[in-house]
Structures are given as structure tokens and as C-alpha cells.
């Protein structure tokens, strides 16, 4: 179907979209890029009736189209895969998918056919291993994202809107989705593809538009564009890619030592050291235990054996639970930010200061508002969090800006050891660079960082050392001097024997 947007305007506290014109013909995959807070999600929501435009019109195959809600848009053949996942944790995968596509609330739940349909969809997106009956709450974030994608595909819509569908996926998983999208497009489906992974955008999309300050700055065929050109349009200025100083070798005494660590979700004992002022990367496929390892170090999961020790000023402290971890100066930026990080209904200031309330209060435990406003103000400026002020509600911030404020939370605490699970998930290129620079700067002031990322390039440019997990086992330690992408990938696959290789991962 051909979808046309004309002069779309939308303001919240401030204007977000001004006169946005876009036209997506059938069979076209149209990329939409822009900085965090540029208005991409808002535009997507308007198309599916989750927000109402202040002005402008939409046309679907030449007919006026103005959905009041997602049921309307689904009826018209337009479906969205939302940036913030909309799954119900307590229902099964099949139920979640069914919930979405059943046309009548009174339709009987036909379990058998629902499970069959769900299985086909899960096969398609690369989740063969998952049982349609299993509870969504038990899935990892990447798996949830795949379910969300399956849910969108289940609608057989003629217009697909995908808002950062790959932010939690590994490269092979994303590649698989791109294949599906190309097939869909050749069947005449039109696709709007929103992402911060510009490489992906250029490879999968036919055309791309850049949003900046609420306006479409450029719409062009992808063939004629480079990543650099896109970044220039997004930021309105040249971003310097090589600004990142090369990490130097460090030889400080160990900051963190992990010995024989085992939890119910990490059955093989794991041992490693981390130097003070080091950026240690953790690589591995989705589900290889990366998130679980950070959680175990932070004391979230019950430890079956082993120890996690922090060495500080000659004193050694054993970390057993999150509270103690934070006291020892450890901070965790969780992968699933809406579940484990963000307080949606509270203010930005509340979210940034919650783990370090001591820093904005006097000795009696009384909060000092002026101090709160100024510390938070400084932090969000430094990290370029885009908001209407520190008292804006968190749920009103764009996804990438929420992510940045999670980092601000630990910077506020003055944590000496940061555990970052996908620290730049959903963050735009310029801000990603800013975060990388900030991390390197922090590292240079003696802060230790352990980062998990699905993007090998990110780990390679950032880290001093990389640990590779495979099938919940620590399989390799690679140094800056001797790593290569092939080597990391080979290690990441090494523990998956042929037969139980996660089918979700096509060998690249």
C-alpha cells in the first residue's frame, strides 16, 4: 500500500514535528533516522493512531486515513513494532500474538491453531527454540524483541512500521529480519524502518529520510548516501569519528576479582580479574550469559558458589547483594531498561538521583532540592539528555534519552565500577560517540568499566580487553593487541555443538 503523510505537525510541551511530508510507495523500505528526541517515534505513533497529529493529513492508497487507535490502523492494514515492547509478561508467547491480532474480543481462543501459527512465525524470525506456550516474562530481551516482531508480522499488514526493531538483536538476528523485510517488500508491502544502526539502514532500505528539529531534512535513495552524510544531516554538523582517544595499557592493581562464580543461570564457574581504570568488554551471542554475568557480579542472582571481591585502598570487600554492590561503588545499567531501570511515572531528577540520594541530602536524610536540580542539570547537560527540564516525567522522554539518564544515575553516585549492559542501545550515533568519549574519560579518571555489547565494532573501539562467553561458559580472553573480529566470533560460537547450535543465529 502507498502511504503518504502531508504536513504532519505535533507539539507536546514544545514542537516535535513540523510539517513532515513523506511518501512511501508499495514495495519500498523507507528508512527514518535522526538524533534521540528528533521525533521518529512520535511520527510512527501518529501513523498507527497512538498519537493524534495537531495538523496535517495521512493518505492510504489515496484515501484519507486517520486512525483513532491501533485497532483502527490494524483494520486498515497498518501495523507497528514498537520501540518500547508492548508484551504482557504473564501471558504465553502464543497468547501475546493472538491478543494482538484477534479482531473480536469475544472470539474464542483456539489454542491449537494459535500455537501452530505462532510456531511458524517464531521459525520465521529465528526463534525456533522457543515454545509458543512459554511465558513471555521468562524470555531474554532479544527474544522478547523477536516476539514483538513476530507479533507485527502476524498481522499480515500492508504497511509495516518498525521502530528500532533490532536494538536488542545481534547482527545475525538483525540480518534475518532484514531478509524478511525484503521478502515483504517484494510482495508489495511498504515498510518504515527506524533505526540508529546507520549501516543497517543503508543496506536494507531503498530510501532514507533524516529528521532533525522536527523537519525532514533530506529524503534520498540509499545508493547515493554514505553513513557520514547521514550523520552530518542528523547532527546538522560534522561529527568527528576518530575523536576517540586510543586506550592505553594499564598496570594498576586489580579492582574486581571474580573467582569460580556460579549461579543457577551460569552453571559453569567463571573467574576473571578487572584492573582499575580498565574497560573490559564482554562479547557473546544473544543468550550466551552476558546479562546473567553482570547480574551475578552485581549480586542480583543468588550465588551458588564462588566469590566477587572489590579491592579498595588495600581493603577487600565481598559483594553479595545489589545494596552492598552499590556501597562498594558498583553501578549496573540494565539491558531491559523499562523493567529494571526506569521509573516511568517519576521525574527525570528522581530517576537520576534514586541510587545516590545521599549525594543530594544533608546528614539527617533530608533532600536539598536546589542541590538536586543543579547536580542533575549538570549531568544531563554533559550527557546531552534532551528534555524540557529535570522535572519532566520520564515516560515523556524519548527512548535514547532515557538510556542516557540511566548512565547519569551512576555518574551521580560516583560509582567506581560501572557494569553496562548494552550502554548505547537505542542511542543515536552522535550521542553514542559522546557516551564513548565519556566512558573513555571516566576510564582515564580511574573508573573501571565492564561493558556488554552486541556490536563488535563498539567493543573493539572501546575496550582494552574482551572476554568472550559462549553457551554460558567463559571461553576466551582477547587483548587489544591480538584480537580480530573473526577470532571473537569463532570463540562466541565455539561452545555450541552443531546439533544444539541456537537456530536463531545464522553463521555470518
Amino acid at each position: 500500500m502507498r502511504i503518504v503523510a502531508k504536513g504532519i505537525c505535533k507539539s507536546f510541551a514544545a514542537p516535535v514535528l513540523r510539517d513532515v511530508d513523506l511518501e512511501i510507495p508499495p514495495g519500498c523500505i523507507h528508512g527514518l533516522v535522526g538524533e534521540n528526541g528528533a521525533g521518529k517515534t512520535t511520527f510512527a505513533k501518529i501513523i498507527v493512531g497512538l498519537e493524534d497529529a495537531d495538523a496535517g493529513s495521512l493518505l492510504l492508497d489515496g484515501q484519507p486515513y486517520r486512525p483513532a487507535n491501533t485497532a483502527d490502523s490494524l483494520g486498515a492494514g497498518v501495523a507497528i513494532c514498537a520501540q518500547e515492547l508492548s508484551l504482557v509478561d504473564d501471558l504465553s508467547i502464543a497468547e501475546n500474538i493472538l491478543l494482538h491480532i484477534s479482531t473480536s474480543s469475544w472470539a474464542r481462543v483456539r489454542r491449537k491453531s494459535a500455537h501452530e501459527k505462532t510456531s511458524t512465525l517464531l521459525d520465521l524470525v529465528g526463534l525456533e527454540s522457543a515454545n509458543p506456550r512459554s511465558r513471555v516474562g521468562k524470555l531474554s530481551l532479544a527474544e522478547k524483541q523477536l516476539v514483538e516482531i513476530a507479533k507485527t508480522l502476524a498481522t499480515d499488514a500492508k504497511v509495516l512500521v518498525l521502530d528500532e526493531p533490532t536494538s536488542a538483536l545481534t547482527a545475525p538476528q538483525a540480518e534475518r529480519l532484514h531478509g524478511i523485510l525484503r521478502d515483504k517488500a517484494s510482495d508489495g508491502v511498504s515498510v518504515i524502518y527506524i533505526s540508529h544502526r546507520l549501516g543497517d539502514v543503508l543496506s536494507v532500505c531503498d530510501r532514507v529520510s533524516v529528521l532533525r528539529d522536527g523537519k525532514v531534512r533530506l529524503t534520498e535513495e540509499c545508493g547515493a548516501l554514505s553513513e557520514k552524510a547521514l550523520i552530518r544531516e542528523m547532527a546538522g554538523a560534522d561529527a568527528d569519528f576518530d575523536a576517540l582517544p586510543r586506550p592505553t595499557e594499564s598496570s594498576a592493581p586489580p579492582h574486581l576479582s571474580v573467582r569460580g562464580l556460579r549461579t543457577s543461570r551460569l552453571p559453569h564457574p567463571i573467574s576473571f580479574n578487572c584492573q582499575r581504570g580498565e574497560i573490559l568488554g564482554i562479547a557473546g551471542l544473544a543468550g550466551s550469559g552476558r546479562t546473567e554475568l553482570l547480574g551475578a557480579v552485581f549480586g542480583l542472582d543468588k550465588r551458588l558458589s564462588g566469590s566477587v571481591k572489590i579491592h579498595e585502598d588495600g581493603r577487600i570487600t565481598e559483594v553479595r547483594n545489589p545494596r552492598q554492590a552499590i556501597k562498594c561503588g558498583i553501578g549496573l545499567v540494565a539491558e531491559d531498561r523499562s523493567k529494571d531501570g526506569v521509573f516511568r511515572d517519576q521525574t527525570l531528577a528522581f530517576n537520576v538521583t534514586i541510587a545516590g540520594l545521599g549525594g543530594i541530602s544533608d546528614r539527617t536524610g533530608r533532600l536539598i532540592r536546589s542541590k538536586e536540580a543543579s547536580t542533575v542539570g549538570k549531568l544531563i547537560d554533559a550527557l546531552r539528555v534532551r528534555s524540557n527540564g529535570v522535572h519532566q516525567k520520564m515516560r515523556e522522554l524519548s527512548g535514547g534519552n532515557q538510556q542516557k539518564s540511566m548512565l547519569a544515575r551512576w555518574l551521580h553516585c560516583g560509582s567506581g565500577l560501572l557494569l553496562l549492559d548494552e550502554p548505547t542501545r537505542g542511542v543515536d550515533v552522535a550521542a553514542k560517540l559522546a557516551i564513548h568519549e565519556e566512558l573513555v574519560r571516566l576510564r582515564d579518571t580511574g573508573i573501571t568499566i565492564i561493558a556488554v555489547s552486541s556490536e563488535l565494532e563498539e567493543l573493539q573501539s572501546l575496550c582494552d580487553r574482551i572476554l568472550v562467553l559462549s553457551n554460558r561458559k567463559l571461553v576466551a580472553e582477547l587483548l587489544r593487541s591480538n584480537w580480530s573480529q573473526q577470532e571473537i566470533l569463532a570463540a562466541a560460537f565455539s561452545e555450541y555443538a552443531r546439533e544444539d547450535e541456537p537456530a536463531s543465529v545464522a553463521v555470518p
Binding site: 505537525c9 513540523r18 552485581f298 542480583l300 517519576q346 540520594l357 533532600l367
Partner: protein
């Protein structure tokens, strides 16, 4: 350009609207008072005020505790029975064992705190559903109140009434002063202390609170203990007002307290609420009761109207914060 101008225009319009919206509950209270003032000559009088002041203290302190519990994402259905239990302990302590009043009062409040501790231990640490735990405690505490008083109203005497009798003609009693002080103190606790923030955090996203270094179980348990303690104090106030300990005191009080909290903008889902708001909620509920009685509305009709007001309050609240 036009877009920006329009935006500015709505901004100023919005502000006036928002001020009204944010103070909706005060406006409603004034409207109710004005309504009864116009309809009944005798409403705006000292008698009304002293009736109000007599009823107010116990419900107020209980509502404070309820508000904290609701904000933390829990609920405490046992408060009404705990009020009766505490009153019973105080009454029996004084009249049967001849304990001095301060000691008996402390024992009553302690009984409330222990009930709260039991709620907290079972609900927060053993992770049993808090609704069911406090529902059980509602029965247990009521039964205990009957047991200690032998199901009789225990006469205490004039000494305890000093607490509730207004000074001079002012209508202000020690009970009222204590209740008001607690409202201010707990509003401060909630808004401006670390502990207050932590309560809100636990109620708004438990798992995020945990990764932020807060122990949700400790917070949940603490607010339940506070709620029990305040219900204990409510028992003292109730006994002081009656001059005796009535084992049937406080029946249905938990519902009035929940209603007051919700009218005051507290969310039953946790993470949002205010103690001052709950106090205004208490005023609205009480003024409504007294006003309706004065204009000769019968008990059944009174209940219908009060119930409708509670539902209306929730509708307004939903519209205010979707």
C-alpha cells in the same frame, strides 16, 4: 511561526487550567462546604466544627499510614480492627490493671506496631499477597480486641478524655493537634527525605528499585509497621474521644481511609500519592457525613452519596493523570 504562536497561546491557557486542576481537591472541599453552608443555616457553626474535630483525629492518622502503604504498592485492610485492639489494650490496662495512662497508651500503640510488623513480615519477607495477609489480620485483631475486652465496652474515665476535649471554646484538642502535626511531618517525610523517595520508588517499579540499591522488602515492611503504629495511635484517640474502649470501634475504618487517600490523589497501583491530599480527603469524607446528616439525609442515602463521591473522585483522578 503560526505553529509557535499557537503553542504559546495554549501554554498560557493551560497554565490557568493546570492550577485549577492541581488544586482540584481543595476546590472540591470548598465547594462542598459552600454547598452545605448555603443549604443549611446551622452548618457554618461551632457545633459543626467541634463534631468535625471529634471525628477527625483517628481517621486522619489511620489515613496517613494507609497512604504510605498504598504508595509503596501495598494495602493495609487491618487498620480498623487494630484501632479497636489498641483501644481495648489501653482500656483494660487502665481499668483492670490500674496502669498509668502513659504506659497503657504506649502498650496500645505497641500492639498496633506489632500487628503491623506481623503484616510486614508475612507480606514483605515471606512474599504472601499483602491483601490477603492484612485481610487475615483484620479478623485476628478484631478477635483479639474482643478477647482482651471480654466483648464489653470498657469504661476508662475522664483522665483519657482530656486528650480529646477541646481547650476552652476553641474546638482544638490535643488529639487534633497531634493529628495535624503528623500530617505535616509525614508529608515532609514523603516529599523531602530519602526514605520518602524510596517508598515512591518501590511502589513505582520494584525491580528498578532493587537495582538502584533499595531493599523493597525492608521498605514495604517499614510502611506496614508505620501503618500499624498509627492505627495504634488511632485507637488511643478513639478511646479518648469516647472515654471508653469499644471492641466494635473502627469497623469499616479501613475503607474510609482508602477512600480518603484515593480522593486525595493516591494511586492504588502505587508510586503516587500525598499525605496532605489524604488529609483533605478525610475532610471531604467527614464534612460530607456531617453536612448530609444535618440536612436530614437518612443513613442509607448518606452511604449512597458517599460511595458515589468516592467513585467520582477516582474518575476525576484518572482524567487528571491517565
Amino acid at each position: 511561526m503560526t505553529l509557535e504562536r499557537r503553542h504559546l497561546a495554549t501554554e498560557t491557557g493551560n497554565r490557568a487550567f493546570r492550577i485549577l486542576e492541581e488544586n482540584l481537591i481543595f476546590v472540591s472541599l470548598l465547594a462542598i462546604v459552600a454547598f452545605f453552608g448555603v443549604i443549611s443555616e446551622s452548618f457554618l457553626s461551632l457545633t459543626t466544627l467541634s463534631t468535625l474535630f471529634n471525628q477527625l483525629p483517628a481517621l486522619t492518622v489511620v489515613s496517613i499510614g494507609m497512604t504510605l502503604v498504598l504508595i509503596s504498592g501495598g494495602i493495609d485492610l487491618s487498620v480498623g480492627s487494630v484501632v479497636a485492639l489498641s483501644a481495648g489494650v489501653i482500656g483494660v490496662g487502665i481499668s483492670l490493671f490500674g496502669l498509668p495512662l502513659p504506659l497503657a497508651a504506649c502498650l496500645g500503640i505497641l500492639a498496633g506496631a506489632l500487628a503491623g510488623l506481623a503484616n510486614g513480615g508475612l507480606g514483605a519477607y515471606l512474599r504472601l499477597p499483602i491483601f490477603i495477609v492484612t485481610l487475615g489480620m483484620l479478623e485476628v485483631a478484631r478477635g483479639l480486641a474482643y478477647l482482651v475486652t471480654d466483648s464489653q465496652t470498657v469504661y476508662i474515665g475522664a483522665k483519657i478524655q482530656a486528650f480529646a476535649i477541646p481547650w476552652g471554646g476553641s474546638g482544638v484538642s490535643a488529639s487534633i493537634l497531634v493529628a495535624l502535626t503528623l500530617v505535616v511531618a509525614f508529608e515532609f517525610l514523603l516529599r523531602s527525605t530519602i526514605f520518602g523517595r524510596q517508598i515512591v520508588a518501590v511502589g513505582s517499579n520494584e525491580s528498578a528499585a532493587e537495582t538502584s540499591g533499595i531493599d523493597p522488602r525492608r521498605i514495604r515492611c517499614t510502611v506496614l509497621v508505620i501503618s500499624g503504629l498509627l492505627a495504634g495511635l488511632g485507637g488511643l484517640m478513639n478511646a479518648a474521644y469516647l472515654g471508653s474502649a469499644d471492641p466494635n470501634a473502627g469497623i469499616g475504618l479501613e475503607l474510609s481511609a482508602i477512600a480518603a487517600a484515593v480522593i486525595g490523589g493516591t494511586s492504588l497501583m502505587g508510586g503516587r500519592g500525598s499525605v496532605i491530599g489524604a488529609f483533605v480527603g478525610v475532610l471531604i469524607v467527614s464534612v460530607l457525613q456531617i453536612g448530609l446528616a444535618q440536612i436530614g439525609i437518612t443513613e442509607p442515602t448518606k452511604r449512597v452519596i458517599t460511595g458515589a463521591v468516592i467513585i467520582l473522585a477516582v474518575i476525576l483522578d484518572r482524567w487528571r493523570a491517565p
